[in-house]
């Protein structure tokens, strides 16, 4: 049972502000993902909860306890490191048991808990091995086991899956999600991988340059990005962001005209539209938004990614897997205007479109 709260937390390294006036409440049992590019302050934020970094100002609470000045050992949090940080000189069993040994857990209970946790992460046959004798996925499991062996108040996970190969990552992602659901422990998870964030999180905090750009459920973040940064960061392939001008509800850019933006006018605007919200239509179609030559066609299996040449940039759209267009062929596209976003390039914030 634990919630974590940041009240106006700032962290500076010398003159560099890593985390700026940070406010966030992570609810009990919640799986919260801090998502952002490297250097955005997400790991620093997590390390402040662990007690590995000190906040320069502001308060951090676990439940109602202010933990700024509490030693890490009394915070009762567990952390999984990106590098796993397994103790190389200790066996799997001793690695998992380390937190228990430090807390002087009696031998029978020590044995029982290690066996139980090892079985849960399927390491029960490898307890005597050294970390270097394990595969990447197994090491990852040891790191997890070491974190869950003592049911802490909060789990902290620092890009725990980034060292695994793609297939294993997908599998461990599912296991992690299941485990968190089963254990019901508040979790803060740091990643730069937006797919991990989307799939794992109850809520995602998208961070950039030390501040939260947007906080919301994965669905909100995806369907309702509040800033240009969030719009560009979430989604794969990313959202098309096309600079242009909006005059009385009509967006215009080189070769592209899209109406349906109510009556707004933005002198320097950016149109955002996701690849799946752009459709290939007959160039002669009356509601065609753009006619452009095809730059590349990539079949992904379930569908086809088509890039069109638009001025000096590319616009990507997701077409049917049976799409048969050729490179340089001119095709028409229609943008779903109720699924498009307009951003003010000055403020980088979204402008609401009233229809």
């Amino acid at each position: 049972m634990a919630s974590v709260r940041f009240d106006n937390v700032t962290k500076k390294f010398g003159e560099f502000v890593a985390v700026h006036d940070f406010n966030l409440e992570i609810r009990d049992k919640e799986f919260l993902v801090l998502l952002g590019p490297s250097g955005c302050g997400k790991t620093t934020t997590m390390r402040m909860v662990a007690g590995l970094e000190e906040a320069t100002s502001g308060d951090i609470f676990i439940n109602s306890d202010r933990i700024n000045d509490v030693l890490p050992k009394y915070r009762d949090v567990a952390m999984v490191f990106q590098s796993y940080a397994l103790y190389p000189h200790l066996s799997v069993e001793d690695n998992i048991g380390y937190p228990l040994k430090i807390r002087k857990v009696p031998p029978e209970e020590y044995k029982r808990r290690i066996t139980e946790v090892a079985r849960r992460v399927e390491l029960d046959t490898m307890l005597k091995r050294l970390p270097k004798e394990l595969s990447g996925g197994q090491r990852q499991r040891v790191a997890l086991a070491r974190a869950i062996v003592r049911t802490p108040r909060v789990f902290l996970m620092d890009e725990p899956l980034s060292n695994l190969d793609a297939k294993l990552r997908t599998q461990m992602r599912a296991e992690l999600k299941h485990l968190q659901h089963e254990l019901q422990v508040t979790t803060i998870y740091v990643t730069h991988d937006q797919i991990e964030a989307m799939t794992l999180a109850h809520r995602v905090a998208v961070m950039n340059r030390g501040v939260i750009e947007q906080l919301g459920t994965p669905r909100e973040i995806y369907n309702d990005p509040r800033t240009l940064f969030v719009a560009g960061f979430i989604g794969s392939p990313p959202m098309n962001l096309i600079p242009g001008e909006v005059k009385d509800g009509v967006f215009a850019s080189a070769g592209l005209r899209v109406g349906g933006a109510g009556h707004v006018s933005i002198p320097r605007a950016v149109l955002g539209v996701r690849p799946e919200d752009v459709h290939v239509v007959n160039p002669e179609d009356p509601d065609v938004n753009l006619v452009a030559p095809i730059y590349s066609v990539e079949l992904t299996g379930e569908n086809t990614l088509v890039s069109l040449q638009l001025g000096g940039r590319l616009m990507t759209l997701r077409a049917d897997k049976n799409f048969a267009g050729q490179i340089d062929q001119r095709v028409g596209t229609r943008i779903e205007t109720d699924r498009m976003f307009l951003f003010d390039a000055e403020t980088e914030r979204r402008v609401d479109i009233q229809n």
Binding site: A50, K73, M79, A85, P88, Y98, P99
Partner: protein, 286 residues
Amino acid sequence: MATIRTRSRGREMLLRLSAYLTILVALILTLFPVYWIAANSFKFDIDIFAVPPEWLPRNPTLKHYDEAFIQRPFLRYALNSFLVAAGTTAISVTFGTMAGYALARFSYPWQWRKQISFWILSTRMMPPIVSIIPLYLFFNYFDMLNTKSALIIAYTAFNLPFATWMMKSYFQDLPVELEEAAIVDGDTRWGAFLHVALPLARPGLAATAIFCLIISWNEFLLSLVITLTEQSQTLPIGIAGRVTQYKTYWGEISAAGFMACVPIVIFAFIVQKHLVRGLSLGAVKG
């Protein structure tokens, strides 16, 4: 294809042969003096200077061992050397490890980490002979001349900076997350040092220890100035003492010199496994 393969195989053979030859020459150059000392220690005085040289002792004798270790106090010197070297090594490694850890891990305001590190290293920059007179006066003032403690203190002053730097670079090569993990797992800073950093630094400890040991075991200059009595003099001084005004006792010198090599060689063999990894420091991640 076939000709190319044979040619490259011939080249390979040639390369390997020249490598072995080089190693052989190096081995002869380094090991021959040791062999010569050993051989001479078993010869009668007259045979030591035989022309042509007597490559193998024709009439082997233990006479010089008897002279050195039974009649003269070389066992005593050896004991002194051992106590001084062990004491110096223990103190240098203990404090060097802790200082090295502190320099590697803790944060310092401004540039203090660099300044302190350089200051520690700078004490090794002058030639040892420069400090001899101050050290002599210092030990004289505290009435410590002719004591093994004086030697231990003096040697530690020379070994500690070295041990600190060596352990510092060793700790810097250990991933810091391991200790962070220990701290989050509930350990204290001291506990993380003791349970995680120190066991992982074993190769570094071994390398540092053997260097300290060799330096104090072989040290001559300070010991010559600070100690005059049989109770405090070390092996190198004892051995040099057999070069007298009238005669140089080559047999005794050889016997004592050969025996003086033995403990270091044995110790090096014991820690060899760690030594190689300790010396390569960052090159091989543990």
